[in-house]
Symmetry: C2
Amino acid sequence: MQVHKIFLRRLSVLELSATEFSVLVLVGANPGVYLRQLGSALDVSPPNLVAVVDRLVQRGVLARLPSAEDRRLQELHLTDAGRHLLARAEAQVEMFETGLEQSLSAAERRCLDSALKKLAAFDPPRADPPGEPSGDPRDDPNQAGA
Amino acid sequence: MQVHKIFLRRLSVLELSATEFSVLVLVGANPGVYLRQLGSALDVSPPNLVAVVDRLVQRGVLARLPSAEDRRLQELHLTDAGRHLLARAEAQVEMFETGLEQSLSAAERRCLDSALKKLAAFDPPRADPPGEPSGDPRDDPNQAGA
DNA sequence: TATTGTTATACTCTATAACTATA
DNA sequence: TATAGTTATAGAGTATAACAATA
């Protein structure tokens, strides 16, 4: 979480949130993606993504182009300013990641990587004993005690 | 982040947020703490903590007792129901942590621990080149490009 | 004058229902 | 009817200013 905070601070230098940065990266790598595709890739619902795209469009870094085949769709593209901003952001992030990597040895990086992969794959053993979620009637709330 | 999500899901079984759980743990370990002390320990501002405490008091797990010496202060204590809920929550968390630990070998745990400690201590090299934050006038927003 | 708990307020994120225009 | 983008709205989480009571 500490590392994530520093990552966000780096992006904030360019007035970008993590979501906005992700949008730039994904649109840059997939010119013409549709809003819904972008949203499912980022796990952001369409209603919430509209505001993000709006802001980036008004900022002049993103453009909505109507699709020729299906007039419900709109292709998302980076503008020239968008490509420039993305390049600056990626430079910031790369610098950040390099700094991070250098604070660990090669062996530590390998070990961390493998440990985190295992933790990310962790599927918790279901352990809901037949006790009620919270409305436990035996929990009569009464006096305090020091 | 994935692990944190699972942690939150465990607590949600008892209808507890991470902050609420922290409050129960800290008040349980420090009976009589004041709201401001609690807030600075949790990095939650007093205005925001009031609502959290309100909810736990109304739920019957926390109690506000007026301080005898300074009538501006209020001691926070767990009720009997609060101690019971805390015990259940700690059991959930302990089960969760045990599951996590068992998905790694002892060597992996040691290595992960040391690597994360180093990353948490990471202090980013200041790298703000004399470029403007974002209002760069040379970023004239113009046409898109596929 | 300073401090504790509190109210009010605002701004971001997130989540859901419903609308429009297309298909 | 189904889908894409959109609007409106509500709920959390977070941040700041200001207030009453007390020191």
